[in-house]
Amino acid sequence: MIDRRDDSDIEIERRFVPKAKDINEDIAWAQINKDVLRSMERPRPMYWVIFAASLALFGFGVFCEVYQYQTGLGVADLNNPQVWGLYIATFIFWIGMSHSGTLLSAILHIMHADWRKPIYRFAEAMTTFSLMTAGLFVLVHLGRVWQFYYVVAYPNERWTWPNFNSPLVWDATAIGTYLTSSIVFLYFGMIPDLAICRDTATGFRRKFYWFLSLGWQGTDRQWANFRVAYLTIACFLIPLAVSVHSIVATDFAVSQQPGWHITSFPPYFVAGALYSGCAAIITLFIILRYVFRFEEYMTMPILDKTCRLTFAIAMVWTYLNLIEYASVWYGNDVYAKETLIYRATGLYAPYWWAMNFLGSVVPFMLAFKSMRNNLTIMMVVSLLLNMGMWLERFMIISPTFAHGYYPWTWTSGWWPSWVQWGIVLGSFGWFSMLFMLFCKIFPTVSMYEVKEMVYHRSEARKARNL
């Protein structure tokens, strides 16, 4: 099965396929299992550093939230026009983050881009956890969290229903759907790998994986059903992901605020979401590669492809961003135009310019191969891109509130309190804590798909060589 190649083969290949390979197709399948399973056993010490830091951040976030819960939202220094502050900005950020997993696993799956295979699993996990984080912000920003169940449509004694007209209810439904579907998708794609874990684990872990792998034995019938179901769910997930972020966009586009009431918001949001998601993938790629010693699977050519994809999406985002400015600038809505000018010149100008710089100029670093091959640079760039994307969300919320229709409530200065910052940081802690736990418990690289990748590539090479 596993062909052993002689040097001449490699020589030929070097001539015809001058590019570096996504993966070494000579790798033994058993080695794949071993490498991946090892990551779940003994990661580098950095793992524990990251985990401890996340736990600490999360703890601080919980403290802030409890304080806010007890005292009232006043501790967040929110006020009449600035009703949402960082909470909703960060909410959009996390929702956006969730889109990368769908992009990598579903879209690329349908497009048969097999280089996604070693990295899609953690991207999908990212989707799930960032959705869970985003969901937290919906709760955190509520004045009366303890009554949040009023939003849920369930038959009740009071004969009341939520307001189905409200984009927030759409949000809740869409996020709920997305979270459910992406958990199903993540879990579904992981079943063959869980069977591998089951087959190697011992003790209570064996029981755990035995339970989760649902008796997977890799039979032909299982594979056939699996393929169809996986593809079908992938097909559902793509429009779902698009709908989720466009619904988040309608939170704003449907409303009256000048600067929000823009038709291009939904695609703009979707592009921004993919953008920040891809940037986050680069970050996590580099971290996982180091922490779990995945150099063999998370290879530089895959990073290169991810970076090129990110660059393309960055350009789409830049275009849509400019379109938004242009349509406001040339439109007849004086209020919206005023808001735009305010963003560029007012209180928030530094952040606005930073956002444009980070979002549209910094990605050009990705256009250079030499940059793409440097892990340190890529790490910094991806973090910058994410910061830019976070600023984008902040720029949607705060300047608009600060400069709405009603001049009397224009704010001359507003800065979030430490409680808000604490909760925002706590959300990052919560996310990375969950993510790190996931990586420890579940195989972060899809073993069976890497095998497929290796198999198909070597088959293709054989075909070429013949």
Binding site: W29, L214, F226
Partner: protein
């Protein structure tokens, strides 16, 4: 005639394919091609093809789930709105179409996804339908062929397996 299982483990996919082909052509008494199952670490469509048509019904579930989700979604929402005590809102009609479409769409997808997963589980006959013979090396890099046949045919089948360089043959010995 009692039926028993036997399973052979192969290192090479081609050999496994050959074994299957031979099994198919053998016309052994007490053996049917439907009773052959391949167990492999990755999917092998070309090997599965040898087993003959094994239809997958997952998409029927998907269709049903999606249509059901869309219809009940809209109906539930619209009738909830129509019966809600507070009907007049922000100058919109009581049953507004665009917002309901958004929710209908979400329910369409949700039910579709869930029904697909459910359909797949039903297709797997899971949980609780595990075949008796399994080798853990299948999840690594080996391929296994499981056959259920009359005990009389087993020897012949095992012979075919051995001929195709199977690494190991497991069987039920009862």
């Amino acid at each position: 005639m009692s039926k028993v299982h036997t399973m052979a483990l192969f290192n090479d996919f081609e050999e496994a394919g050959n074994a299957l082909q031979e099994l198919k052509d053998s016309n052994l008494a007490g053996f049917r091609m439907q009773d052959v199952t391949i167990k492999s670490p990755i999917e092998h469509p070309e090997l599965s093809a040898l087993l003959g048509p094994r239809p997958v019904y997952v998409q029927l579930f998907t269709l049903f789930g999606a249509v059901f989700g869309a219809i009940t979604g809209f109906t539930l929402i619209a009738s909830a709105q129509a019966n809600f005590l507070l009907q007049i809102r922000g100058g919109r009609p009581v049953v507004p179409i665009p917002p309901n479409m958004v929710l209908t769409y979400e329910l369409f997808i949700l039910c579709g996804v869930l029904m697909t997963a459910l359909g797949c589980f039903i297709g797997w006959k899971l949980p609780g339908n595990r075949s008796p013979l399994y080798n853990e090396r299948v999840s690594e890099d080996k391929i296994a062929i499981l056959v259920k046949a009359d005990s009389a045919a087993i020897t012949a089948i095992n012979a075919i397996f051995t001929r195709h360089r199977s690494l190991e043959i497991m069987g039920e010995y009862d």
